[in-house]
Subunit: 697 residues, 2 copies
């Protein structure tokens, strides 16, 4: 069986590989692998000549072989399509349908939407359908996105480093922009379009004002021009104090007319260069960033002032709710809710409040953020972290689909049956705006995301942003087929590995609702002992509160009462250990080590078992992957095999270091038969990683 | 005409491109392009099974088509080769011969050296011979390297940034080493072997002690294992104060026995991991780096102590002469000579002193460093900068072959006819050791060096390190043919563009011996007005000394007398303006703006003419490149075209900013018909590039 490979670039060429199984694949093609030879492509006709429609046609040609039935790409407004009276009215701006029709007397597969963007999404849906084993004969796809803004957040700095990026430098080569348009930019937009992502915030939320200067606006405009035919808009993170730094004003107070005027003029300048500019993302009064609170104004004052600046252009503001004060002694998990909930109803109608999936910071597991459902008069955008800041960087295999869906599927307790997904997609309150943001894991590495399996997290984010009701497993299977081909054993094995992989990270880094146990700064590796950082809530000891008697953070009414920020049956369930899911037990409760668990073991024994389960899962993934050696191209197989070995070693390190520390606190022996840590606690405390990637600014 | 392309990686595959001229080539293959299809390769037999011999055979197979006569790769010791009585005795360890012979009754092309490394170099020589239009029938190549250590210096930091690197992050992914061995490492070694480079210093001369810790030694060892079969050794930059930082000693005084013992133990540790470790490169007492002078010891004391640590293992020390004191009021151009010349004869015999090509710092033009020829009892390694810190980063086209050969061909004036090349290759004094170092321009960018034409500088360095007597034009033609194919128009045009390109940079940044006129920190763009930096010799005004009456640095006896560091006829020539080449005039002399020049113009008019000539040359390169549009693959053509447009704009910027400044000093009008600067001087002074690449640590 020969294999094919596509160079995605300015050109479409397919290249026959030499031999099997030792063929090479560097991962650049992502999940977009051609099954067509260049001289034997599908026959595709475009009705119309918009750039986007042309792209839709060429994507189908490059992906699909000649044997595919003839395909027509069109928009609903094409006369011959209009005559078919298909159900376009349910598709909205971006939806598509793909079905067999008779057009001008011929049987063809029609790919069409109300807009050419919809058609492009339909083209990728058809490719996905066929690449995952679907038949052409009976194809009948119809879909419209449930979430309006499906946006990547790049934490990319202007010096081309990436905060919490583990796939090399920023994909944006700011230095050679706007002159040089790297073919990668096109490939990036294409990959995003293939999974429905329609926006990208180019720069870090820890923003420099320079990104709003004329040279950088020109650079952003060059990217916007590349992205536009792929249906993607550009957004910028805005530094709230820019009027001072760039405009020479004395203040950035949002209530000052000169400040508002500066932003209005700046927005006008941006829109002259980028007519479809999406708007601003703002991290204000958070971790040292400037914001309206510096002037006694509220977050709503700040957001609304910026929203007014972009409103006439059709722009929006995404205002982050990730705030915790430098001096506030309140439980960090409570602060965003305390600050934002009272503002519900005060935001302009082109503002979304962007809320992280959990109340702390992208831990391997967190309960859903209590703001979801608590601000019915405000569109809440959810922010996921695709890059694995706390889940092993690029080297650990952790498929985040289950993390994303666990949060999206969570009941808010606010209304009967309401889920976080209902809030996010705007259905719950019929909001005009809705959005999902993912902190990108994309860099300049050849395989984009630092590892093949990390690509699946980019893919899963896009698919879920389009449809938050998809299952993580369905997405995993689809990704596996598009990435590795349709061999059943490969798909089954890869999907099985993926599905338990995030739980394995939870297990070997700290299960049962523990969180924030990592080392300082780089966030790589264990540091549950860390207690000497300047602010209490920076320390792992703040979160686990372990002592000789017990472990966990009492967030019930007898403690910080963060539970009180949840509603209805959810609040009730979290209020007592007996009704709290064990997976979140120690997030909400401080409990004795001796507490009896569902397993019949006590808490300490159960925690130990989780560590061992996590390590064992990684070893099992190694065996599963070994079994696929002959079925995966050599380069991708070897890199993944190497990374799994790293992960296995580091899972043991997490386990051993954590157990050594817990034992130093609880003075309990390990259960019989359990392996002792390899080193003593002092050794683990000595580990240093001064050059860990991704920790910048 | 179909084109072929090779993916260099773990595998050898050749890939048929789709269409011409719009085919894609991302530049990854460098000058190593296959002309063989995978199923129609040359027939190559290896006599012997060393890893290196096997590589030599596979390189020939992947590069050469079936039509090539049968090839045998072997070493001189193979019995059937020995029987031929070929002139192996003149080839040394690394030389090769390639010739037609009858072996076991068959006519074959024999590729052989005394070592398998020699054979590998021969294989690449044969590929080069055929790729540049040579015939197989009469092939008769014989060559041995004139320089023993042909070494790249990577100014790569452990955080994966590169100081003065313009091709992305460090190629070394320290974070995933030693586990993950990126196929790029193999491709890097292969490219180096193809041009004769046999060593690489992995880390920045501004070194961190961490690079000498056990984890980083293991990482370096993993790279050494990859490089070994390609004939490349690994070296490390050593931080002189490491015994304090890592060893807990109170001092790094090289005369302290505990310090020497620490280094000896450290060397032993390194050699256990890397048995063929090359040795240390040291930047000491230079720009803030620690060194023996901190303790009143000499550079020789420091170098010899380290040399003793590696001597028993066959290691060497490369000790840099790039020193200038923080407080020394002496002309910076004189300080290295003043400090090192008296030490001649005091260095251990496994020490080389590494001297930059000029006495300041890699300017577009500098006279050769006066130390060459002045330390006959010490092997002097020359250090060139391949990366273009002062010649336009990655975006400007500047072929450095003429810069390298101008220095190598310079007469030292010390002995009749002696050139810098004679000193560097060790012939002048029959030194056992000789070496040439090039500061690498290699990064993680897909095309390795940030632009296609930058690859030629890597190539030229390697070729000249093997044979400093090659001409820059011969190398350019050879590179053009290997890189773009054998079309005569392409080779002629590309070679013509290259040959004048460095002089164009000299012209538009400051000709007639001016130097160090760049902006601060990043060294990008003009800053001749800068005069406010803390140390006098950091300021451009220190170097040009322009005022209303004249311009230039008087380095004759009436000035700093740097001329007195040169010898014989060279010193005599530099002593007077009349006998100084005009290209170096203002380096050695302060002269009135009215001085009459060879052109008949006065100095001011001549300087203006140089600026205009530089700008015009770039515009001419644009036209030349435009004429090749149909003959170069689309991706490489477009990137170069874009970069030439950047260069043309920035050449005008350099010209205009410089003229605006000179006019503010000399109050002279521009000659008639000369275009005025586009902006006023204040505008040029306002330009800021806070995120320019490559300026780290």
């Amino acid at each position: 069986m020969p294999r094919f490979r596509t160079l995605i670039g300015a050109l479409s060429v397919s290249l026959v590989m030499a031999a099997q199984p030792a063929w090479a694949d560097d991962g650049y093609a992502l999940w977009l692998r051609s099954i067509a030879k260049v001289d034997r492509q599908a026959v595709v006709t475009a009705l119309g000549d918009s750039a986007t429609l042309t792209l839709a046609a060429s994507e189908l040609r490059r992906a699909l072989p000649m044997e595919t039935p003839a395909i027509v790409v069109a928009t609903a407004s094409a006369p011959s399509v209009r005559a078919l009276t298909l159900p376009f009215s349910t598709l909205g701006d971006e939806g598509y349908l793909v079905c067999n029709v008779t057009l001008n007397g011929k049987r063809v597969i029609l790919v069409a939407g109300n807009s050419d963007r919809g058609t492009l999404y339909g083209a990728f849906a058809l490719i996905r359908h066929l690449a995952t084993g679907g038949q052409a004969a009976a194809v009948n796809l119809r879909s419209a996105p449930k979430v309006k803004l499906r946006v990547l957040n790049h934490w990319d700095n202007l010096d081309e480093s990436v905060e919490r990026g583990y796939a090399g430098q920023s994909i944006w080569d700011w230095w050679t922009l706007p002159d040089f348009r790297d073919p990668r930019y096109t490939d990036y937009a294409r990959a995003n379009a293939s999974i429905g992502i329609n926006g990208t915030v180019l720069n870090n939320v820890n923003a420099k004002a320079d990104s709003l200067t004329a040279p950088y606006i020109a650079k952003a405009a060059a990217l916007a021009n590349v992205f536009r035919p792929w249906g993607m808009r550009v957004y910028l993170s805005a530094r709230f104090s820019a009027p001072i730094e760039l405009g020479g004003l004395k203040t950035a107070d949002p209530r000052d007319p000169a400040v508002a005027a500066w932003w209005k003029a700046k927005a006008d300048e941006i829109y002259r260069a980028i007519p479809d500019f999406g708007g601003f993302l703002v991290k204000a009064n958070s971790e040292g960033q400037p914001g309206p609170r510096d002037y006694g104004a509220s977050h709503a004052d700040g957001a609304n002032m910026l929203a007014a600046a972009v409103r006439d252009h059709g722009g929006i503001v995404m205002w982050r709710a990730f705030v915790y004060a430098e001096t506030d002694p309140e439980d960090r998990a409570k602060q965003a809710y305390s600050e934002f909930k009272p503002l519900d109803g005060t935001f302009a109608d082109n503002v979304l409040v962007q809320v992280k999936n959990g109340a702390i910071d992208f831990q391997p597991r967190e309960p859903f953020h209590p703001l979801f459902g608590a601000m019915p008069r405000t569109p809440l955008m959810i922010e996921f972290q695709i890059t694995k800041e706390y889940l092993g960087f690029a080297t650990h295999l952790a498929y985040l689909g289950p993390l994303f869906t666990e949060v999206l599927d969570a009941k808010t307790g606010q209304k009967p049956g309401e889920t976080v997904a209902d809030v996010v997609d705007g259905q719950a309150e019929h909001h005009k705006l809705s959005g999902m943001a993912g902190v990108a894991n994309i860099g300049r590495d050849r395989d984009w995301s630092g590892s093949t399996f990390n690509q699946s997290n980019w893919y899963a984010f896009g698919r879920l942003a389009w449809d938050p009701d998809l299952s993580a497993e369905e997405i995993a299977r689809s990704w596996a087929a598009q990435t590795f081909g349709t061999d059943r054993q490969v798909i089954d094995t890869v999907t099985a590995m993926m599905m338990g992989s995030r739980e394995a990270v939870v297990d070997y880094t700290g299960a049962l609702g523990l969180a924030h146990l990592m080392a300082t700064g780089h966030h790589y590796g264990p540091g549950p002992w860390v207690s000497d950082l300047a602010r209490p809530e920076w320390n792992p000891t703040y979160y686990h509160r372990a002592d000789a008697n017990g472990i966990g953070f009492d967030r019930t009414a007898s403690g910080s009462n963060a539970v009180g920020q949840y509603a209805g049956s959810v609040a009730k369930s979290f209020a007592k250990p007996e009704t709290t899911p064990e997976s979140m037990l120690l997030w909400f409760h401080h409990l004795p080590w001796d507490r009896r668990m569902a397993s019949g073991r006590n808490l300490w024994e159960d925690l130990v078992a989780h560590y061992d389960r996590g390590v064992a899962y990684v070893a099992q993934m190694q065996r599963q992957w070994e079994g696929l050696r002959s079925k995966i191209d050599a380069e991708r197989w070897q890199k993944t095999a190497t990374y799994l070995a790293v992960q296995e070693r580091e899972a043991r390190w997490w386990r051993d270091a954590s157990l050594a520390y817990w034992m130093s606190v609880n003075h309990r022996p390990l259960p019989a038969g359990v392996r002792a840590p390899e080193h003593d606690l002092a050794w683990y405390k000595l580990q240093r990683f001064p050059y860990a990637p991704g920790h910048t600014q």
